[in-house]
């Protein structure tokens, strides 16, 4: 019980020094005042909740399985079609890990240089974003290969279900944005209804999902012209809303960089399933 009495101040100091030296030697974290980062740290930065590349790969493969199952459920794919889709999906996973490998290679060259390590975040951020929004979105090989893999009937069936899903997500984001605005400056039920209608008319589903989808929607709301939006609100509500929307207007570049908005350099020649149907 009284063991602590044997630990004098000197002993505690000595223990602390030993602890610091052990940590330095073990983790190679502190090397004579110079910062060094490990591969594990880099993987942690990129894969965040997944922790490392191995776990991330497993999760992505599981996710691919869910996507192909979903297409199979809606289109009743043949074995050959299913194989092709899985192959395309694996291509998306490999493409992602190629980008990861390139970023990691860059990192390994500069891991001891604090200034340059900061720059590596330019490569990490899009990877994080892609991981968060999912690899099998509209720009994925899997989605694009659908055009050449399934027949017209399957195509129509899939497009119908995919549209339904996108509308569901879009509706949830519309209501989330209105609720957030409502929390900042409460609005009446009637105002809520009118805002919902306006946002349904004036916004479209995000290109990608994930944790930044909310910002993409807020950005779209910020693009709605004042004569349409302002009459729904009173002066105080407008004052609060407008300040929030003004902040969002400044996020265009960031959203483009992270693929949440079209940045103008997409391959427009490739028609996605729903676009092809619309064109027909």
């Amino acid at each position: 019980m009284n063991r602590h009495r044997f630990l004098s101040a000197q002993t505690r100091l000595l223990l602390a020094m030993v602890l610091v030296m052990s940590c330095s030697a073990y983790g190679d974290v502190v090397v004579f005042g110079q910062v060094g980062f490990t591969d594990e740290q880099f993987e942690q930065w990129v894969f965040q909740q997944y922790g490392n590349s191995t776990t991330a790969r497993t999760k992505l493969n599981e996710s691919l399985e869910l996507y192909t199952e979903d297409v199979h459920r809606s289109c009743d794919l043949s074995d050959s079609q299913l194989r092709k889709l899985r192959l395309a999906g694996r291509g998306d996973v490999e493409r992602f890990f190629r980008r990861f490998a390139e970023a990691k290679e860059k990192f390994q060259k500069i891991r001891n240089d604090q200034q340059k390590v900061n720059q590596i975040w330019q490569d990490i951020s899009p990877l994080q974003m892609q991981l968060s929004s999912g690899l099998f979105d509209r720009d994925s090989l899997l989605q694009k290969s659908l055009v050449n893999t399934i027949n017209r009937q399957q195509f129509l069936q899939y497009t119908k279900l995919d549209d339904e899903r996108r509308r569901f997500h879009h509706e949830s984001k519309i209501k989330l944005v209105i609720t957030m605005l409502d929390q900042a400056a409460p609005i009446t039920a009637e105002q809520r209804r009118r805002l919902t209608e306006l946002l349904r008319e004036e916004t479209s589903p995000s290109r990608k999902g994930g944790q930044y989808e909310y910002y993409a929607m807020m950005y779209q709301v910020a693009q709605i012209s004042e004569p349409k939006l302002k009459p729904i609100l009173d002066d105080v509500q407008w004052q609060v809303f407008n300040q929030q929307l003004a902040q969002m207007r400044g996020m265009e570049q960031w959203l483009k960089q992270n693929g949440m908005l079209p940045n103008g350099d997409e391959d427009e020649d490739v028609l996605l399933p729903d676009e092809q149907v619309a064109a027909e």
Binding site: E171, Q211, V236, Q243
Partner: protein, 423 residues
């Protein structure tokens, strides 16, 4: 439970420099925390060593502490099924004596033993168990206070912690006020404006409610500061993260006092609509997140939405989780969810390990930093007319369509109890 800063802005990734700085200092930080923790351990050992025997418990000074200790003892006795009257008798008479006697009587009655305080206590096995349990409970309480003191010192700027259980530390309150005070000002300000929009009060009525709002704000701040204090002391985060709720509840009382039943009903209805919308969005967003994760079919989406509606939990409406929690899910009722999923979906869902592990802090919305002007009463003289008859003198400067639509109804409202009284 992992605690995350309550400010929603904290969910935005740290700037590059700060991330690197954190990593640079993470090792020393860990070591410092380790050393502090070691000190905590030593303090705890010391506390244990110096722990007075249970018979000295009555020497504690405050009434509240006496009550807590007495309660702990009574509960311990009840659990162990025996009473030890000689050991719980305070040395000096305290206000809680009656409670002591009552609790003892209940405990004794529960075990069916007659207690004779004049006789030396017969230490039976059950009585020993009661003493040990009571002692252990008090030690646990002291340990809590020691940890609370140290954490309070760390997080509260080194101030002296005054509180025992159930009391709010002034330092925590001060810190909370500093961090969130302006946010609560804005909430009160916007809610008062909302009352004006919905209920169309006269200026006099409005000012009466605005006057009441000061104490409403104080209580709301104290409530959430208390939650924050609990979290700092290692308690789990509260499910109640909606900082507007206590303000609305408090103002509703004031509205009832100053406005007509019709106006009260209008406000009540709007608040109910708002809460319903809040629930709807939480259900929808959570279902959409599940869909994103598990690739549900339309039928599953409907079933999941229904499931969330039927098993609604207020904590699911945490705004930061809805806005940013891409991979974060609330603690959903798995036994009901699993039967809806396919085998592959079940496999993925079972590996979503972050459910309910994160406390997202208080829902401060996006109001911080936004400037809101004072309430305008255009066209109305400073002093309230003796009798308000038209919509202008009712205090509504209705420049906007929504207000205009509600103006006519406001003009025909019955006089409020306060107005009747003044007449």
């Amino acid at each position: 439970m992992k605690s995350i800063s309550s400010n929603v802005l904290s969910r935005v990734r740290l700037p590059v420099g700060s991330v690197s700085l954190f990593d640079r200092f993470s090792c020393p930080l860990v070591i410092t925390v380790g050393l502090v923790w070691s000190s905590v351990g030593l303090e705890l050992v010391e506390a244990g060593a110096k722990k007075p025997p249970v018979t000295q418990e009555a020497e504690v000074e405050t009434k509240d502490t006496v009550e807590i200790v007495v309660t702990v003892q009574a509960e311990a006795k009840a659990i162990a099924g025996a009473a030890a009257p000689a050991e719980v008798e305070p040395a000096e008479k305290k206000p809680a004596d009656a409670a002591v006697k009552k609790n003892e009587a209940i405990a004794v009655e529960a075990v069916g033993e007659e207690v004779k305080p004049a006789e030396p206590p017969r230490i039976l096995v059950r009585q020993k168990a009661a003493v040990v349990a009571a002692g252990a409970a008090v030690v646990v309480e002291e340990v809590g206070v020691v940890i609370g003191n140290i954490l309070g010192g760390i997080f509260g700027g080194g101030g002296q912690v005054q509180a025992q259980n159930g009391q709010l530390d002034e330092n925590v309150l001060k810190q909370f006020e500093q961090q969130y005070g302006r946010h609560f000002d804005q909430i009160v300000r916007t809610e008062l404006h909302f009352i004006r929009v919905v209920c169309q009060p006269t200026r006099q009525q409005y000012e009466s409610i605005a006057s009441d709002s000061k104490s409403v704000r104080t209580k709301a701040v104290q409530e959430f500061a208390m939650i924050q204090q609990g979290m700092q002391r290692g308690q789990t985060g509260s499910d109640n993260s909606d900082t507007r709720r206590p303000v609305v509840e408090g103002l509703l009382v004031s509205v009832k006092r100053h406005l007509s039943p019709e106006q009260v009903a209008d406000y009540d209805r709007e608040v109910a609509d708002r809460n319903a919308a809040r629930k709807e969005v939480a259900v929808l967003v959570t279902a959409a997140k599940l869909d994103r994760k598990l690739v549900l079919n339309p039928e599953q989406r409907t079933q999941v939405t229904q499931l969330l509606n039927d098993n609604w939990n207020e904590s699911w409406a945490s705004a930061p989780m809805l806005m940013y929690g891409g991979e974060q899910f609330p603690n959903l009722p798995d036994p009901k969810l699993m039967p809806i999923l396919t085998a592959s979906q079940k496999k993925v869902w079972q590996t979503v390990a972050q459910r309910s592990q994160t406390h997202w802090g208080f829902n401060v919305g996006m109001i911080q930093g936004i400037v809101i002007g004072e309430e305008q009463w255009e066209g109305e003289p400073d002093s309230e007319p003796a009798e308000a008859t038209d919509k202008e003198s009712k205090g509504a400067v209705l420049k906007q369509p929504v207000q205009a639509a509600e103006a006519d109804a406001a003009a025909n409202r019955e006089a409020t109890p306060a107005e009747k009284e003044s007449k």
